[in-house]
């Protein structure tokens, strides 16, 4: 019995080759898209779950609300905070600080072993408790010696391999060059396995906090933003209450800080709104993960709907077969079973094709989303359960309706007409097609809005110009040689101008305290963002001075402020008024620069003070070089040569600021690409479905078309007649989709301080596009039918 079912299934597929192909491919694409997105999302959700007792570990985040400035959040705190909190709150079992060692503990670090030098960017200072809290896999050394003694170092396996090759690393001594001249010997105390790829902490080496650092100005500062601090809390029943207690505790040291506790497994997906965040490897906006899940389900549903529609449409022409089977003794369940077997057969083929598609497109997805997912993860035990679920679920989802539909056919009737499709019977199909197109239209509108917003962000006048500007990061040693470097690079052919700065353009800014005298005579302290700029900074970036003047020479006591800060200070003309950065000598305001978007367009412009203090190398982290548009690669090569000659280091990194801004809007871009691809797929699958459905409708109305033609209908008449039926559905889909898309896109746009308005024509345009695409699709079939010789169709009836 089963054999004959499978045989019939196979032959039915062969008989409707084209439709079967569309049907199976459509579902395969749906399944593949769904699984790929699922893989990605589950990878993101798996971050830090491998840590034992992950639910008891929290990262300390602080909410800073200094007087007179916009509050902001930071996931990094000062060095003394953790020990202070633990001493005063016995709910805290233990704490671990993981602070980047460069640049605040050490200005820079290069490791050396027997002449082999490695720059250590991912070096962290941490506490011994790291070993018990994050439970790294020990390869060499004892757990209790983990960053216990001064001048010991923990290496990851791959860094140890780079330094020592295959020989053991334990107790070997390496040199750490921590500044120009100072060299310290460190002994390897432990080698641990590399941090798992789904750990938010991607560090290569760990050292204890140097004693002298912990007693320094920074090391004892509660307000400074320095590094991540993790707390282990066994009794985590009432975290809100604990947060209040911690806040109360810290208020005795600093009343501008409130604490919240971020669960360990939320760090990767829940840190987008934290302005100051460190060591958070490839963090992602959890909101987009949810959107991706919705997209995956939507695409899968579209594919399923297609499958149901096509199966039902094909089944509709199997009236004769079903009738005969019933006459010779088949019961209804026989027919149902047969349809389910056939569906199962097709779904299996889809699943196999989907696996193929996944293998092909996984690298593309990795590139798009900057991940390292492997197809091995598809063939794990749990995934087999998922695939079995998809197989059975889809079979039932897509098979039950057609099965029910064709098995209930009246035998005598079906035998006579051979077609099971009736007017009212296709209403479910109409609903499905409408739903399918509604989803596709939502994608299209969303995509257009996202693209417009991205374009807007790229083209918006930020108040400064960075066209053809490259950024060269400098470390402390290089910053000390900055004047020579600038002079030499300026000589390179193709270099138009050069300047330097401290702040990360497009980043969050760096906050500093300033004090000034308010117009009412009151001495005020606020925190603002600070830039330490080259003398020509203002002209280099084409910024506009609205009052006073730009820098004429590098000085420690002259500042330019932006309009926002000028407004906050309160003088009608602040030029000449005294102002100073806390802990620096007193200074005065020499000019006001027109507001420019130094941060990303997610944020409004915040107060900014610009100094030009060339005597502080700490505050010279970026060199900006403006190059002419011709022969850029040669210019870059020449710059590299000069750079390496002066730095004495082989590393030369540069980045066009344009590219840098692309990175700033990375998650928007990612979401945009995802929606473009998935939306395109959704539209494609929907159209494939429409194409086949149109073919079946044409078949159903063949006789009618023939009669109409005999009676004098033109090709245009017939085409319109046939297309109308579908276009009405697509139009209804558009009416349903547009408010939904409008609502969600508006919500998405709220995340940008500077954003476009969704204009009516964006929505109308997307709708028109959907209708045109649908029309072209249906036209293929309807024009063909209209051109057919009517005698043929009438005779065949």
């Amino acid at each position: 019995m089963l054999k004959i079912y499978l045989k019939t299934a196979y032959r039915n597929l062969l008989k409707n080759k084209a439709y079967a192909f569309v049907n199976i491919l459509g579902l395969a694409v749906g399944i593949a898209a769904c699984v790929l997105i699922g893989l990605f999302v589950s990878n993101e959700r798996s971050f830090d779950n491998f840590v034992p007792n992950a639910d008891k570990i929290y990262r300390l985040t602080e909410y800073m609300h200094y007087d007179g400035t916009a509050p902001s959040t930071a996931a990094i705190v000062g060095p003394p905070v953790a020990p202070f909190l633990k001493a005063n709150n016995n709910e805290i079992d233990s704490y671990t600080r993981v602070f980047p060692a460069v640049p605040l503990v050490y200005p820079s670090v290069t490791m050396e072993y027997q002449g082999k030098k490695i720059k250590a960017d991912k070096l962290a200072c941490t506490d011994t408790t790291f070993a018990s809290m994050f439970n790294p896999v020990m390869i060499e050394g004892e757990r209790n010696k983990f960053t216990r003694d001064q001048n010991t170092i923990v290496l990851t396996a791959s860094l140890a391999h780079k330094l020592f090759g295959n020989s053991p690393a334990l107790n070997k001594t390496i040199q750490l060059h921590t500044a120009d001249t100072s060299v310290t010997n460190f002994t390897v105390s432990n080698v641990i396995a590399d941090m798992p790829k789904n750990s938010h902490l991607q560090i290569e080496a760990m050292v204890p906090f140097p004693k002298e650092f912990l007693s320094s100005f920074l090391g004892t500062n509660y307000n400074v933003l320095m590094g991540a601090t993790y707390l282990k809390i066994s009794n985590n029943k009432n975290i809100g209450l604990l947060e209040n207690r911690l806040t109360k505790t810290i208020h005795s040291k600093s009343k501008f800080i409130d604490f919240t506790l971020q669960p360990l497994n939320r760090i990767h997906t829940g840190s987008v709104n934290i302005s100051y965040d460190q060591l958070n490897y490839k963090k992602i906006d959890g909101k987009y993960l949810n959107i991706f899940i919705v997209i995956a389900i939507a695409v899968f549903l579209i594919a399923c709907v297609n499958f149901v529609n096509l199966t039902t449409a094909i089944a509709g022409y199997r009236g004769k077969e079903v009738a005969i089977k019933k006459i010779v003794g088949a019961r209804r369940f026989h027919v149902v079973f047969q349809v389910l077997i056939e569906t199962f057969f097709s779904v299996s083929l889809s699943l196999i094709s989907a696996l193929l598609l996944i293998t092909i497109f996984l690298p593309l997805l990795n590139k798009l989303l900057d991940r390292e997912l492997t197809s091995e993860s598809i063939y794990q035990g749990t995934m087999f359960v998922v695939f079995a679920g998809i197989l059975i679920g889809t079979t039932l989802l897509a098979g039950i309706y057609p099965a029910w539909f064709i098995s209930r056919a009246n035998t005598g009737e079906a035998l006579k007409t051979k077609v099971l499709l009736g007017g009212s019977k296709s209403s479910l199909r109409n609903i499905l097609v409408t739903g399918q197109f509604a989803i596709a239209v939502i994608f299209m509108i969303s995509l257009m809005v996202i693209l417009k917003q991205l374009k807007y962000m790229q083209q918006r006048d930020l108040g400064y110009s960075y066209n053809q500007v490259i950024k060269l990061p400098m470390d402390l040693q290089l910053a000390k040689k900055m004047q020579v470097l600038k002079a030499e690079i300026a000589k390179v052919k193709g270099v138009k101008d050069i300047t330097n700065g401290f702040m990360e353009l497009g980043g969050n800014g760096s906050i500093f305290g300033i004090d000034f005298i308010a117009p009412n005579g009151e001495a005020k302290k606020i925190t603002v963002n600070m830039e330490n700029a080259g003398i020509n900074y203002i002209s280099f970036f084409d910024m506009k001075i609205v009052a006073g003047q730009a820098f004429s020479k590098g000085q420690q006591n002259e500042y330019i402020i932006n309009e926002t800060l000028a407004k906050q200070i309160g003088y009608p003309n602040p030029v000449g008024k005294p102002i100073n950065i806390t802990s620096l000598p007193p200074g005065r305001i020499i000019g006001v620069v027109k507001d420019f978007n130094y941060s990303s367009l997610h944020k409004t412009i915040e107060p900014l003070i610009i100094g030009s203090m060339d005597y502080i190398p700490y505050w010279q982290t970026n060199l900006y070089v403006k190059v002419s548009g011709t022969n850029v690669s040669q210019t870059l090569k020449d710059i590299q040569q000069v750079f390496i000659a002066i730095s004495g280091d082989n590393t030369f990194e540069y980045q066009f600021i344009d590219d840098h801004f692309n990175e700033v809007y990375h998650s928007e871009r990612q979401a945009g690409s995802m929606i473009a691809i998935i939306g395109g797929l959704a539209m494609l699958i929907s159209c494939l479905g429409l194409l086949s459905l149109a073919a079946f409708v044409v078949l159903r109305r063949k006789k009618e078309i023939g009669i109409r033609k005999v009676l004098g209908a033109s090709v245009a008449n017939i085409t319109t007649l046939l297309s109308k039926e579908f276009l009405i559905l697509v139009f209804i889909a558009f009416v349903i989709a547009s408010p939904i898309a409008y609502y969600f896109m508006n919500k998405w746009l709220q995340g940008f301080a500077y954003r476009i308005n969704i204009q009516w024509w964006v929505i109308a345009g997307a709708g028109a596009m959907a209708i045109v695409i649908a029309f072209i699709t249906v036209s293929f079939q309807s024009i063909k039918a209209a051109l057919d010789n009517p005698v043929k169709s009438l005779r065949s009836e």
Partner: protein, 225 residues
């Protein structure tokens, strides 16, 4: 074998009610070969559908083998049908996706006959119909006459007591038509009751009795000699 009395069947569309069978009564004895004739729309096919339990009457009684089946549900009708009745159609109604062998095998599958027994019986009946050599062909590859033989083979493979034939020669030329009528006559002589709807006076002459219908009623019965 069959006794129907006052059988009624209506077809309703939104506005019109058509009477297909109007208090029709008739009897067919076991072993009889009955032809039903009449103009298009007289209710022949409706009658055949009801006799074949593909459709149920709106009123009246239908006793099959001393069982009242007029009010049987579909499942009971299907059970009774598959063990007792074979169908032969004008347009053969073979399943295009199945081979000759598989088409004939189908009724045996649904009555739960074991696979080895099925092969034996299908081969036996194909042999009898002289289309054994075409067993692996698909219906489209056969001539009309051959297709109708396959259809008859399928109708008789379950050894039904009754064969209902709906214009079995309608799509055939006269030579193939005669062959089919000979086959039916043979079956009848071996004891199978046959009820055949036909337009052809020539075919009707193979039967024992002709029932003529008009507007859903019996208008005349001819006993053939």
């Amino acid at each position: 074998m069959i006794k129907i009395s006052n059988l009624e069947k209506f077809y309703r569309t939104e506005e019109v009610e058509t009477i297909a069978l109007n208090k029709l009564s008739m009897e067919v004895a076991t072993g009889e070969f009955v032809a039903i004739m009449g103009p298009s729309g007289c209710g022949k096919s409706t009658l055949l559908n009801i006799l074949g339990m593909l459709d149920d009457p709106d009123a009246g009684s239908y006793v099959f083998n001393e069982i009242e089946v007029a009010h049987f549900n579909e499942r009971k009708r299907a059970d009774l049908r598959k063990h007792n009745i074979g169908f032969v159609f004008q347009s053969f109604n073979l399943i295009d996706e199945l081979t000759v062998f598989e088409n004939v095998e189908l009724p045996l599958i649904y009555t739960g006959v074991a696979a080895s027994e099925r092969v034996k019986r299908v081969e036996e009946v194909l042999d009898k119909m002289q289309i054994m050599h075409r067993r692996n062909h698909y219906p489209q590859q056969l001539s009309g006459g051959q297709q109708q033989r396959v259809a008859i083979a399928r109708a008789v493979v379950n050894k039904p007591k009754l064969i209902l034939a709906d214009e079995p020669t309608g799509n055939l030329d006269s030579s193939n038509g005669n062959d089919v009528m000979e086959l039916l006559t043979d079956l009848n002589e071996q004891g199978t009751t046959i009820i055949m709807v036909t337009h052809s006076e020539h075919d009707a002459r193979y039967s024992h009795r002709i029932i003529r219908l008009l507007d859903g009623q019996t208008v005349m019965e001819n006993i053939m000699v």
